[in-house]
């Protein structure tokens, strides 16, 4: 199930030389309810489309799988980390 679990948090930390810097902690999980509603609507649409295509004899009828795999792609971004240092300035991006 965790294969389809979208990122929970995106943590962005910016620190410039000589300044305190700032940190943005984006709680993506708060958007999950909205995402799941949109996903449910999309899945209903794609299921109907796939069924119609299948009954019509079309070779391609995988829109539902395409939507699910796209969600999987979003979920797979968890664990991405970027660290950049430039003349004492620092930017860190973490996707959890």
């Amino acid at each position: 199930m965790s294969t389809y679990l979208p990122p929970l948090v995106i943590d962005v930390r910016v620190k410039e030389e000589g300044s305190r810097g700032f940190r943005i902690w984006l709680p993506i999980f708060l958007l999950w309810p909205l995402l799941f509603v949109l996903l449910a609507l999309a899945l209903i649409g794609t299921l109907v489309a796939d069924l119609v295509l299948l009954l019509g004899g079309a070779r391609y009828h995988h829109y539902t799988l395409l939507v699910l795999r796209s969600l999987g792609l979003l979920a797979a971004a968890r664990g991405t980390h970027v660290r950049a240092n430039n003349h004492g300035s620092r930017v860190n991006v973490d996707i959890y």
Partner: protein
């Protein structure tokens, strides 16, 4: 001045140790650093591997860029992203896939994504363990790409 440093200098003054020994001892306690200056913390990527793993399935792809100007970029990308992306390509509608292949061909990358079969993905990921890209620029900048 901290106690260790005082003691070492005291021993040197008393002639109990030589200047070389005192230097070595000061080095070992890190006494060269100015106590007023904060101790530099290692970058958060310090615990990342420095090279490809010798065994097992790699989990992440690492891109490390170091410049002579002390600029540094470290990127850690989960290979699950690659795995999922490759699996997704097998589900792209044929018309869209044709367009993608044409665009890639125009950009100089003439390979058909349809040739990547889902059953080959694990082999591709596994073989990435042996992949290592090292670029050493003339100006001293280095780029390393590996999976571990």
């Amino acid at each position: 001045m901290n106690e260790d440093r005082k003691r070492i200098l005291g021993m040197l003054a008393e002639g109990k140790i030589t200047a070389d020994e005192a230097d070595m001892l000061l080095d070992s306690i890190g006494a060269d650093t100015d106590p007023a200056q904060p101790v530099p913390t290692p970058p958060p990527s310090a615990d990342w591997p420095t090279g490809p793993s010798a065994s097992g399935t790699p989990k992440f792809m690492y891109v490390k860029v170091d410049s002579v100007n002390n600029d540094k970029v470290d990127v850690k990308v989960p290979l699950a992203l690659l795995r999922t992306g490759l699996k997704l390509t097998s589900l792209i509608p044929p018309q869209a896939m044709e367009q993608i292949n044409t665009s890639m061909s125009d950009a100089g990358m003439s390979f058909d994504l349809n040739n990547i079969k889902p059953e080959d993905i694990e082999d591709i990921i596994q073989s990435l363990r042996e992949m290592e890209v090292n670029v050493n620029a003339a100006n001293g900048d280095t780029i390393r790409v590996f999976c571990a």
